[in-house]
Amino acid sequence: MAFERITQETYYESIIRQGYSRRDFMKFATYIAAYMGLETSMIGQVAKSLESTFRIPVIWEHYQECTCCSESFIRSDHPIVSDIILDKISLDYTLTLMAASGHQAEAAKHATMEKYKGQYILCVEGSVPLGDDGNYCCIAGRSAKDLLLEAAEGAKAIIAWGSCACNGCVQAAYPNPTEATPIHKIIKNKPIIKVPGCPPIGEVMAGIIVHLITFDRLPELDNLGRPKAFYAKRVHDSCYRRPYYDAGLFAETFDDQNAREGYCLYKVGCRGPMTYNSCGTIKWNNGVSFPIQSGHGCIGCSEEEFWDNGPFYERLTGLAGFGIESSADTIGKVAAGVVAGGLAVHAIAANMSKRRELKESIRSGKDTEKHFTE
């Protein structure tokens, strides 16, 4: 069939066939090794793995998502990144970019699932709606949950691309009408790499795939299942505005002099101190910039429930269940006021209620004073 691909081809062979020179290839190996946080001595291993490893079949599923993850990926810095992963090598199935469509596309997926059972990587972009029997997201007449369970069955590992697949993102925000559910809550028996972010950085996505190819195992994950190489540090810890934070110099509003000076955006709601990602180091759009560099605070897109964590432009946000306007401090101040008032009332009431006891002790005290001898 037309959509059947040449499978016995190494990554290197396909890159060369694509028209890249060996020099380009070595540059790519160096570049991606640096992003993966490897030593320079490891570049050889990356290159060797890409030269000798046959392609890993990849099925890339799209559920409740906006395709920003795919967009981020194909716009990553180095052209080989998208070529190697998306075009030439891996994808047996992806709704957005594959040439085949309809029954042909589904047939290609099933062929891969059967032929490479237990070997293919399942990439999932988007969350899975469980509400209303999964009817909110159907592909080829089947529900997303059904498709996910089927595809995960024979997968070697699952990569959960983006915040949708990792924590539900915007569609899982309160009240979550479709019951959008992240992948790890549905699939329990497969290794899952979480790559949160809305979208994740393209270089991070490529780095994870190359890591799988090079070392034939999952990258080291933290206790939330995210690769440590990219999610071990807060955006805050690598932010170039950090010195302003440590100096206590903050922008009060987005149009004040402090903002113009490039002061820290902490007080206008920057989520950098609570967000684990590589935006401060790898940056976006070929390393051009990242939100904070553009003068906008981090919105914490790679953190769980970032849509529900209050307004993006406020540092102190409301407490769930207490209404939108009430921050922890408002509640605290009211409670402290009520308690202080209550104590004042108590003190007055005590004077009235215990007056006999008080009179008695005053009298007995005075009595003793009379018997006091110099």
């Binding site: 440590d246 402090n258 509640i331 402290a336 308690v339 108590h346 005290g365």
Partner: protein
């Protein structure tokens, strides 16, 4: 009517008093720096950021005070097993029949301000009364919440194993954001506790005149003579070491 006879009784041992005042200092510093960290003041400065470390210093004080608060708490826990009956851990779990009875008594007489018909000296606690004991238990739990969330947030910034022990807190809660919100909101618990605690200490001293306030400085309280004659001041028995009964037999 003659004046009542009072005896001086050593209630709060030195380690308890030291713990109390270090705790006071730590909570004050932690709350103050905590609120500055949460909502820093607006500064206008001509100086370069590299020349100042103001916010960094505030955070340093917060972290240093947190460590002192934590180790102070550990020492107090140790003393809960070695100190006198009033410092013992059992005094903070007022769930026995007698202590429950005392709880209702304090609630009626001191909180709801009813007057008792017959004054029973047995109802006057020497150490903590049962309501106070319960409030300290609540404060301890609140302190644990702050320790776990605080070190949980801090663990990503450090290489030391101790705060690293709390790394699991953040993933358990879902992320830094919610952990920080809990850490921030719980501070108000300390403020409310302090208000009530200080008021009630003054209230007891003012009404009973037994040196409630000064007892946390000198360690002594005044107790009616009859109260001491009754053996069961509080149903706690002084902790006995294993070797003691043998010595008694020998004697």
């Amino acid at each position: 009517m003659t004046s009542k006879n009072y005896k001086r009784i050593y209630v709060w041992e030195l380690p308890v008093r030291i713990f109390h005042w270090i705790n006071v200092l730590c909570i004050t510093v932690l709350a103050a720096t905590g609120f500055i960290i949460a909502d820093p003041p607006a500064l206008l400065s001509n100086r370069e950021a590299s020349e100042t470390f103001l916010f960094g210093t505030v955070r340093f004080i917060h972290f240093a005070a947190a460590y002192i608060f934590f180790f102070n708490m550990i020492l107090r826990l140790y003393w809960a097993f070695t100190g006198n009956r009033f410092a013992n851990w059992r005094a903070f779990l007022p769930f026995s029949r007698k202590m429950r009875k005392n709880f209702w008594h304090v609630l009626k007489i001191d909180i709801l301000l009813q007057n008792e018909k017959i004054h029973d000296v047995k109802n006057v606690s020497v150490g903590h009364n049962s309501v106070a004991a319960l409030s300290y238990l609540a404060l301890f739990i609140l302190a644990l919440v702050q320790v776990f969330t605080g070190f949980g947030l801090y663990s990503a910034n450090t290489g030391w194993w101790l705060p690293k022990l709390f790394t699991w807190v953040v993933p358990l809660m879902g992320g830094d954001f919610i952990v920080r919100t809990i850490h921030h909101a719980a501070t108000w618990g300390f403020i409310l506790f302090t208000l009530i605690h200080v008021y009630l200490v003054f209230y007891h001293d003012w009404l009973e005149g037994r040196g409630e306030v000064s007892s946390m400085f000198g360690g002594y309280k005044f107790v009616r003579e009859e109260r001491i004659a009754k053996e069961d001041i509080i149903e706690l028995k002084p902790t006995q070491s294993a070797g003691k009964p043998a010595a008694e037999t020998a004697g």
